[in-house]
């Protein structure tokens, strides 16, 4: 770890259990639990206490015929979606069966299976208010499903804009804007035309190889992307439907597989200039976890504010070998209030790890 940086990451929990590569992890937005998924076709659920003790709660043998590549919670925290290389999306809920001792003995139940993709599903994501579910696949398509009552889902759009595998989908934090990242090196943004279908309103080009991961800034004015070209790009909304690359972050030695943008902890920000845009976490094949602090650009006196001026940024923490010699496949900030300094990672070692960021001693 670099001692000169102002913050450090300390390990809070090391959660083994998957028998194969762990691909993805998702924090429940409401309850103190998180879910990880793996090439072993299982989902593991962990619970944590206020003093950050983590324990294994449930294992879901998903029944997916192949790798479970991605997991996502609905904003309600009640429902979990799984995306699998078997081309299907699973939707899961836990039956509540509280026994006499007050312990929930309920089992995770697959309430729906969404079929439609032709090949491996790579990512799944719920929209900000849970109205829609998006999924993407090696079949080059992005599907948007409407979430209806009684575990019903209706396909509202099949978007065929990418020329190659679609690696990741992510919804804007407050608006119904969907982003997708692809093996074709581009990012596409979609909105609904009220009188017609969903459509791609812009394509963001700049990465020179596969875009693996995308994350919106917490207030939604920026988008970060991580790529096989080893860089992270930051895109800024310069008009309602116009986005532009304003910053390229370097420092990773291999593919960037995952990016996550959290709000950061506000209490440490008092008296600082510039609007705090949060902490961006990045990780990948080099096994490093890097944390960048991002702020709105400061405008000096007499200077005209420019929409293309990059945000102020600095590397605040860097952790090497987060999963020993293994690739790190995902990094995710905890979305729950009071826990914004926690992040989870998963690696090729099959482990899920939880980290806390704190000022360096």
């Amino acid at each position: 770890m670099d001692a000169e940086l102002p913050y450090s990451l300390s390990n809070v929990a090391d959660l083994p259990g998957h028998e194969d590569r762990a691909w993805n992890v998702a924090w429940n937005p409401v309850k103190p639990i998180l879910a990880s998924c793996s090439a072993d076709k299982n989902v593991r659920i962990y619970a944590y206490t206020e003093d950050l003790r983590f324990k294994h709660l449930d294992s879901i043998p998903t029944g997916h015929a192949k790798t479970v590549r991605s997991v996502a919670w609905a904003p309600s925290g009640q429902t979990l979606a799984t995306a699998s290389f078997d081309a299907n999306i699973g939707v899961w809920e836990k039956e509540s069966e509280v026994d006499e001792a007050g312990i929930d003995q309920g089992e995770w139940e697959c309430i729906s299976t969404l079929e439609g993709h032709e090949t491996e599903c790579k990512s799944v994501a719920y929209s900000c208010n849970g109205t829609y579910l998006a999924s993407c696949s090696r079949d080059k398509t992005v599907w948007i499903w409407e979430v209806l009552p009684d575990a019903e889902f209706e396909t509202v759009s099949v978007l065929m804009e990418h020329s190659q595998d679609v690696k990741c989908v992510a919804w804007h934090p407050t608006e119904e804007i969907l982003a997708s990242a692809s093996y074709d090196d581009t990012i596409k943004l979609y909105i609904e035309d009220p009188s017609d279908d969903w459509f791609c309103f812009t394509t963001l080009s700049g990465h020179s190889s596969t875009v693996w991961s995308i994350a919106w800034s917490p207030v939604g004015g920026y988008l970060a992307s991580g790529s096989d070209d080893k860089t992270v790009r930051i895109w800024r909304r310069i008009a309602e439907h116009k986005w532009e690359c304003v910053l390229v972050l370097t420092g990773h030695d291999r593919s960037v597989y995952s990016v996550s943008w959290g709000p950061g902890k506000d209490d440490k920000r008092k008296g600082k200039e510039g609007e705090h845009l949060g902490w961006l976490a990045t990780t990948g094949g080099d096994g490093k976890v890097m944390i960048w602090e991002v702020e709105e650009p400061t405008v000096k006196e007499g200077e005209t504010p420019s929409m293309s001026k990059p945000p102020d940024h600095r590397l605040v923490a860097c952790l090497n070998a987060a999963h020993d010699v293994h690739d790190v496949n995902s990094v995710v900030w905890c979305p729950r209030k009071g826990y914004e300094d926690l992040l989870a990672t998963t690696g090729d070692d099959g482990h899920t790890k939880v980290w806390k960021i704190a000022p360096s001693a």
Binding site: E19, D20, R21, A39, D40, K66, T67, R69, F85, T119, E120, K122, R138, D165, K167, Y183, S209, T210, D228, R254, S255, G285, V325, H326, D327, D348, D349, G350
Partner: protein, 161 residues
Amino acid sequence: AKSAGRRSDLSPHSLWINDDSGSDSEVEDKIEPIDQDEVFDLIRSIYDPEHPNTLEELRVVSSPQIAIGSNHVKVEFTPTVPHCGMSTLIGLCIRVRLLRSLPERYKVDIYVKPGSHQSEHAVNKQLNDKERVAAALENPVLLDTVEQCLSNVRGNNPLAP
């Protein structure tokens, strides 16, 4: 001998996580560095998917085309013809062989020799995309083909010459 070649297909362990009970323990030493000849030894006897010859015999792989860095192995190979449709499969066989044999700390990059293939960029991109490789190895037909190409490889089949 046949089942030995299919061991990984039947094993509950992954293709990606080293099985300590495997037959490749001689190269699992965590400290001793490896050299290009040792890596070449691991891949020279892989069969070409279309010919009754090994990659060494067809001059698809050679020791000087292997570069070793600290915890990093780069393998370049030369497709037999510039439009060779089997190049990604050959590269996949090399990758699987090295995944099963090298210590976990090694990151492996595989490329076709520059200028040797008309779809050079596409082949390289596919071979170095871990998600595509993982998905390919969950395809039983493809995995079976890979196993056949690897069936003669020393260490993969203890009865092989």
